[in-house]
C-alpha cells in the first residue's frame, strides 16, 4: 500500500510536467483552432536557450530562464505572425502541416547549433529529496511540480479573472460575436501564442532539468497530445486533471507492467476515450453551422 502511494505521488508529480505544455496547446486551439504540432519543439528551443545562456555563456540560471522565456515568446509570435496569420481560413491540414514543418525546422536548427548530444542544465532545482510523511520524492521532481503548480495557478487566474482572459474566452467561444463586440481577434491570436511561449518555456526548462536536453526533447510532447485528447481539446481545467492522470498512469504502468507498455498506454487510454466520448472527457461539443 505504501508502495502504491509512493508511486502515485511520483506519478502525479511527473504528470504535472505535462500540464503546462498541454495548457499552451489548448489555449491556441481554443482560440484559433490551430493544432500546434510544433509545441514540443518550442519547448526544446526554450530549454536550449536557457542552456546557452546559463552554461555556454555562464550568466547564471536566472538570466537563462529570462532569456528562454523572452526568446520563446518572440519565436512564438514570429511563427504566428509570419506563417499562421496568412494561412488563417485555409483547411485544417494546411495549418497542421505548417506546424509540422516549423517543428522540423526547429529540430534541425537545434541539431546544427548544439549538436545531437545530451546536454545538462545545472541543478537550480534543489536535489535534496523531499519527504511527505513517509514518502520520499526526488528533490527536482518535487520542486519542479511546485513551480508548475504556481505557474498553472497564475495562468488560470489570469484566464478567468483578467480582461485579456475574458477576451480569449470570448474568442474561443464564438469568433464572430467576439469580433462584433469590439475584440481584436488577430491580437487575441497573437496573445495566445505569446502566452503559450511562456508556458512552453517553463515546461521545456523543467523537462530539460529533469531529463537533459536533446533536439528530440520535443517528441515527449506527443504524450502531451494524449493528455489533451483525453481532456478534450477545449477544456482548460480539464487539461490539468488529464495531465496529472496520464502522469500517474504512466508511472503505475512503468512500475507494475514494465517499460514497453509505458509509451503505448497513454494512447490506449486515448483510444478508449475516443470511442466512448470523442470530444474528450471535458470537451465541449462544437456545433457546426452550415
Amino acid at each position: 500500500m505504501h508502495q502504491i502511494l509512493e508511486f502515485s505521488i511520483i506519478g502525479l508529480a511527473s504528470g504535472s510536467v505535462y500540464v503546462l505544455a498541454a495548457l499552451g496547446f489548448v489555449i491556441i486551439f481554443k482560440s484559433s483552432s490551430v493544432f500546434n504540432f510544433a509545441l514540443g519543439e518550442m519547448m526544446m528551443i526554450a530549454a536550449y536557450l536557457c542552456f546557452a545562456t546559463t552554461v555556454q555563456m555562464q550568466l547564471g540560471w536566472q538570466a537563462g530562464v529570462l532569456v528562454a522565456v523572452v526568446g520563446s515568446v518572440l519565436i512564438a509570435l514570429a511563427v504566428e505572425r509570419t506563417m499562421l496569420q496568412p494561412l488563417l481560413g485555409k483547411p485544417v491540414i494546411v495549418l497542421v502541416m505548417v506546424t509540422l514543418g516549423v517543428g522540423s525546422i526547429m529540430r534541425g536548427l537545434a541539431g546544427l547549433v548544439w549538436g545531437p548530444d545530451i546536454v545538462q542544465l545545472p541543478d537550480f532545482l534543489p536535489r535534496a529529496p523531499v519527504f511527505i510523511g513517509d514518502v520520499l520524492i526526488p528533490g527536482r521532481l518535487a520542486w519542479g511540480s511546485l513551480v508548475v503548480g504556481l505557474i498553472a495557478g497564475a495562468f488560470m487566474a489570469y484566464y478567468h479573472f483578467s480582461r485579456a482572459g475574458l477576451a480569449i474566452r470570448a474568442t474561443s467561444s464564438d469568433q464572430v460575436t467576439a469580433e462584433s463586440m469590439g475584440i481584436n481577434i488577430r491580437q487575441i491570436f497573437s496573445l495566445t501564442w505569446a502566452i503559450t511561449g511562456v508556458l512552453v518555456a517553463a515546461s521545456g526548462i523543467i523537462l530539460g532539468a529533469l531529463n537533459g536536453i536533446t533536439p528530440t526533447l520535443g517528441l515527449v510532447a506527443l504524450n502531451v497530445l494524449a493528455v489533451v485528447m483525453l481532456s478534450g481539446l477545449t477544456s482548460v481545467g480539464g487539461v490539468v486533471v488529464a495531465g496529472l492522470f496520464i502522469g500517474w498512469v504512466e508511472t503505475m504502468v512503468g512500475a507494475y507492467l514494465g517499460a514497453a507498455w509505458q509509451n503505448f498506454v497513454p494512447y490506449l487510454v486515448v483510444l478508449l476515450v475516443m470511442t466512448v466520448k470523442p470530444t474528450g472527457l471535458f470537451g465541449e461539443r462544437r456545433i457546426e453551422r452550415i
Partner: protein, 417 residues
Amino acid sequence: MPGVRVPRQLKQAMGGDQAMFRKWEALVVVGALGAIASLAGTSAAAQDIKFSLQLPLTGPIAFTGQLNQAGWQHAVDWINKNGGVKGRKLVPIVYDSEYKVEVGIAGWRKAIAGGDIAFSLGDGTPFIRAVSPENNDRHKILMSNTGYASDLVDAKKYPYHILLGPTYSDQIDMLYRYIQSKKGSAAPKIALVYTATEFGRDPIEHARKRAKDLGFQIVAEEETKWSGIDVTPHVIKLRNAAPDYVIFHGYAGNLWPEILKLSREYGIKSEFMGTVYGAQADLVRGVGPAADGFLGVAPFEMNVAGQKGWAMQAIDAALKGWGKPYEGYTNVGYIQGWVIALFMRDVVAKAIEQSKPLTGDNLVEFARNVKNWDSGGMLGLPASMVDQRLPYGVVYRFSVSKESFSFKPAVDWVKVD
C-alpha cells in the same frame, strides 16, 4: 499526324489531353534529380582500398557515432601517412545511418554500387542481422560493426562477420570476475538494470545463467525505457531490493546517470557498474561525484597519455592535434575506429602480401586466424581471435570528484573464456 489513332479508352485512361505534358515533364524532373544524385560518386582511384562505414552520426547514439568517425578519420590519415596498406591508399566511405536500419542499408548499397568494397562497418547489430542473409549469398563482404551482440560469435549465421572486442555476454563475465574477487561468505546480491531494447536484453539471459553457476543472487531486474522519462519508480524498487552490485547495460548516454544520481540521494550503497557503452570516460565524468567508484568495462585502453605502445603514441599525437580538450584519456567510441582500422589494415596487408584477391572469403580467413596481434598498446594483451571475436577487456574504476577525474584498472586485462 492526324492518322495516328490512340484507342479512346486508353486515351481516357491516360487522363486525356492535359496529363500528357505533365507526366512527360515529371519524368524530366525525376531524371534530372537522379542525374544530380549520381554525379558526385566516390572519387577513389583504382588501387585504393575502400571501406564502407555506416555510422550513427545523428540520432540517439550520436555521441558515440561522432567519436567513431573522428577515430576512423585520424586512424586512416595516420595509416595513409605511414605507408598506407602496402603502399595503397585507404579510403573510407562514411554514411550517417541515423541509427536506423534502412538508412544504413541504403548507404551500404550505394557504396557497394560503386564497387570494390573490401570491408563494411555496420552501425549496430540490427544492421548486421538485416544485411547478413543478402551478404552471405551475394556480396560476401567482410563485415564488422560497432556493437558487441552476443550471438555474433555464431559462424554459421554470420560467416563474414568479425567482432573486434568482447561480446556483451563476455563483458558481463568480466564484471562478474570482479564481483567474484570481492566475494565473502554470503552470496553477492546483484541487480540488473537494462533497456527494453534488443541491445539492452542481449546479455541478460547469459547473465542469469552465469549468476546461478557462480552462486550469485539476482535480486532485481529493472527493464526501463530507452530514454526520456522519470526514473524514480526504478530507483524506488532498487532501494527496496538492496543489492550489493548494480549492473547497467543497454543505455545510450542518458537515463543511467540519472538512476545513479538518484540512487545515491536515496542512500543506496551498492557498487554500480556498466558495460562498454555505459562506461565511456566522458559520460561517467559527466555524471559527477555520484559516479565516484563506478566500475566500467572497456575493450581498449582508454588512458592514453604516457602509454608506451606505438599505436597509443600515435593516438596521443592525434588527440593533441585535434583541437578538442584533451586530458590524457579518450573514449571507447574514438579508439574503436583506430582498432578496427589498424586491424583491417593488417588483414588486408597480409592478403596483398600473398597476392590473394581482396574478397570476403579470403579476408575472413585471414581475420579469423589472427594470433597474438600487436595492437600497439590499444589492447593490453596480445590478441588472438576466438570464435570470430577478440574476447579481451579491462575493468576500470573511476574516481570522480568536483575537482578531478581519473580511472585505473580494477581488474587488469583479461581474456574471457
